[in-house]
Amino acid sequence: MVEIYNFVVGPLAWVGWGIFVVGIIYKLIYMYSLARAKDYSSLDYMSLPFSLRSIFVWSIPFYATNWKRNPAMTVATFLFHICLIAVPVFLLAHVVLWQKFFGITWATLPDQAADYMTLAVIAACVFFGVRRATDLRARYVTSYKDWLILILVASPFVTGFLAYHQIFNYKFMIILHIVSGLAWLALIPFTRLSHMFLGLFTRAYAGSEFGKVRHVKDW
């Protein structure tokens, strides 16, 4: 157990985090130079204030027209993304590790709250899955990749929840949790999950075109 643990929080964690961080930096540099080479007629219209306006406006639940039109999806999406980021970052058990390995700490969530938030993430994943299977708008454009991504995203939370409550084999579950979490991080730059950072830029571009050139709202 100690050997496995040592491996997953040691070399494997460095690899996972390394791919995540370096991958994002690489991807951003690659995309920027590609945009400079091929999309200059778009890049030239980028505007910081309109970019921020667009990102800000779309970050408010039920503000954009389409958020209003799809209340269930809006609730699920916002709940999902807020919890998805807040739980791993502010979970006490995670901060304890940061403290132990790097001597840094920050505010933490009460375990009880994190527990409910984890359930919210899992519930949102179930909602997304049901929607993907039943709502034709989504089903028509769904491929196996979308299911894999959904499973990938849900797995650290499911295993984390089971490990926290020590349901099934704890030792197996905690290792699975760490591995799936690292896999999740490592795959972010190279899958649809790259919307985590690229989405900000496409949003910014739409905001710039609509705000600066078209003089209309993009929401």
């Binding site: 157990m1 643990y5 040592n6 304890v96 403290q99 132990k100 704890y170």
Partner: protein
């Protein structure tokens, strides 16, 4: 009325008084430091004697230490960790980290014993 029973009772009380720490030492089955206030997790499972026997630890070091000299712990009285390690502190090792490091570092070094959260903070 004889004084005997009184003496016996006093003697028993004295024995009890002196033996009490020894008994309670025996009784350490978990680490539930009241300094933390309301705990987020179940207390860490720790059977003091069984652990030391299994780990073949004779002295009180490295757990019970009093400061560091030349990179080594100096043995001290078996005082409470919270006496020195504060829960929240900018200097030194905070209490939770002290506990975690104390156990984990040794377990990792010896490649024995629990290292993940739930192995110590076991749910009842």
């Amino acid at each position: 009325m004889s004084k005997k029973p009184m003496i016996l009772i006093l003697a028993a009380a004295a024995v009890l008084l002196f033996l009490l720490p020894a008994f309670s030492q025996e009784d350490i089955k978990q680490l539930a430091d009241p300094a933390f206030g309301q705990a987020q997790r179940p207390a860490a499972v720790f059977d003091h004697d069984a652990h030391n026997e299994k780990a073949a630890i004779d002295g009180c070091l490295p757990c019970h230490h009093q400061g560091v000299e030349e990179g080594r712990f100096v043995e001290g009285d078996p005082v409470k960790c919270a006496d020195c390690h504060e829960v929240k502190t900018a200097e030194g090792t905070p209490l939770m980290l002290a506990y975690h490091k104390q156990c984990e570092d040794c377990h990792l070094e010896k490649k024995k014993g629990p290292v993940t959260c739930g192995e110590c903070h076991k749910r009842p």
